[in-house]
């Protein structure tokens, strides 16, 4: 494939080989192809937009520096996903903090929907509650929950990524859901939402 024919829909192998031949633009296509998915992987892990932004940039920087060693044994996204999860877990373990949420009215996407002001506040409260519920999970449970619930990964894939047993992953997922349930039950906001 020539330089001119490359775009974000091009095959990963073509983009990689073109980049390795010195075509810097091929890497830009890789970034544009996967940036949103990688951002959300990190965002669901760290919950904070700024942290997710930093980690996403870090992921692509790592990819840029390690594409020479990429053998193509796995898919490029799987390779990126693994890096994103590891960096997010490192971030969580390093900071070990209650992540300050940068959720604000301006940043929420709910405004894009054609909803009333009351509904807008309701959506904001629900988002806040969801973030708090996920935030209450331990790092590993959070990773398993995100990978299974949002990214639809099998327990085998999760166990390989986290280097844990498959059975353990299933139990982790169940406990994560139960913990979210417990958190929601303890929230008055959730109670009100349920009544409405």
């Amino acid at each position: 494939m020539t330089k001119e024919n490359l775009n974000i829909k091009s095959e990963d192998s073509d983009l990689i080989s073109s980049f390795l031949k010195g075509n810097q633009n091929a890497f830009n296509f890789i970034v544009r192809k996967y940036q949103e998915r990688i951002y959300w992987v990190t965002r669901k892990m760290v919950l904070n937009h700024d942290d997710a932004d930093d980690i996403t940039q870090e992921v692509f920087l790592k990819i840029y520096n390690s594409l020479k060693e990429f053998r193509g044994e796995s898919q490029l996204f799987t390779y990126m996903y693994r890096i994103a999860i590891n960096l997010s877990l490192n971030h969580l373990n390093k900071n070990n903090k209650i992540i300050s949420r940068s959720v604000n009215i301006e940043n929420t996407d709910v405004s894009s929907k054609d909803i009333s002001a009351d509904e807008k506040i309701d959506a904001f409260e629900k988002t806040k509650l969801l973030e708090e519920a996920i935030e209450s999970l331990p790092a590993q449970q959070r990773a398993v929950f995100n990978m299974r619930y949002y990214d639809n990964l099998s327990y085998d894939e999760i166990s390989i990524l986290l280097k844990k047993s498959t059975g353990g992953m299933k139990a982790n997922y169940f406990h994560a859901i139960k913990n979210i349930q417990k958190f929601l039950k303890s929230s008055k906001m959730y109670e009100v939402m349920e009544q409405n």
């Binding site: 940036q35 965002r43 997710a52 520096n65 940043n107 996407d109 969801l130 639809n152 169940f174 929601l184």
Partner: protein, 290 residues
């Protein structure tokens, strides 16, 4: 996967409920086992209902989206970060492969050199200490040897007045042999165990002693000769053979007895003197002879 599930497996089925409620189970046996448990077990059913509510909330709630145009600018930010990291490339990374090998190698050599120097310094100190110890040992040996020598002198004193010169010399010889034997024995034992340096030192010491003995022997011989010469040249009444009728042959016994006694006394006196004094006397005697 199990083919038949019963209520005893309820805990295991509970763990599969989240996947059942989100339609992520492909195993039909597991699905039928869960459905059977839902019909038969009220507790399991209520558990499933609660989880259904939770999943309902999760499905209807989304995380806050990033700011507008975030993804449009993300690739630009990433490129900027890549550029920044390349500019920030450390001095180490800029170094060539040769320098990357040379610098640690030099560091290793310097450290090794310092360690070796440190080791050698301690080794030299140890050697100096051992040399000091050896010298001290030698000093103590030197102190011991004269003590043995005094045995000869004691014997000489003991047999002082004994006219039998031959017996004295025989005893002297036996005692000196004894000393020499003990000394040899001592030195032999020592030389077997002591290091090379001490052996060399011992050999030089032995040669010095031998030389001293030789000088003493020479001095004794010279002294005897001079005494003999002076005796004949002096005003000894027995020497005036021209005037007296008594011949040498007649008084030979008496003459030799007196001569022997005098010789022993002089010899003893002479021995008591220091080597320098002995040499001085010998010089004087030889001058007087001239």
């Amino acid at each position: 996967m199990k083919n038949n599930y019963n209520t005893s497996d309820i805990e295991e089925l509970k763990q599969s409920l989240p996947d059942y409620l989100t339609n992520k189970i492909e195993d039909k046996n597991l699905i039928s086992a869960i459905e059977k448990a839902l019909e038969e077990n009220a507790g399991f059913k209520s558990e499933a209902e609660e989880l259904r509510h939770t999943f309902g909330f999760l499905q209807n709630t989304e995380l806050a989206a990033p700011p507008d145009n975030y993804f449009t600018n993300l690739s630009v930010k990433i490129n900027g970060k890549i550029q920044q990291s390349e500019n920030k490339e450390s001095l180490w990374e800029r170094l060539g492969l040769v320098w990357k090998i040379l610098i640690p190698a030099i560091a290793v050599i310097i450290i090794t050199g310092l360690l070796v120097m440190n080791y050698l310094e301690t080794d030299v100190l140890k050697k100096e200490l051992t040399d000091k110890n050896i010298k001290e040992e030698k000093k103590t040996e030197e102190v011991k040897i004269p003590e043995e020598k005094t045995e000869v002198e004691n014997l000489e004193n003991k047999i002082d007045g004994n006219s039998d010169k031959q017996n004295l010399s025989e005893e002297k010889i036996s005692v000196t042999e004894k000393n020499v034997n003990s000394k040899n024995k001592f030195t032999k034992n020592k030389t077997e165990t002591l290091p090379k340096e001490i052996k060399e030192f011992k050999n030089s010491e032995n040669s010095q002693e031998k030389e001293q003995e030789k000088v003493k022997d020479d001095l004794n011989i010279k002294l005897n000769d001079l005494i003999a010469d002076n005796f004949y040249n002096s005003d000894n009444p027995f020497n005036s053979s021209d005037d007296d009728t008594v011949t040498e042959e007649d008084n030979s016994d008496l003459f030799f007895q007196n001569e022997a006694d005098d010789e022993i006394n002089i010899e003893e006196e002479f021995k008591e003197l220091s080597t320098e004094e002995q040499i001085e006397i010998l010089n004087n005697l030889s001058k007087s002879k001239i």
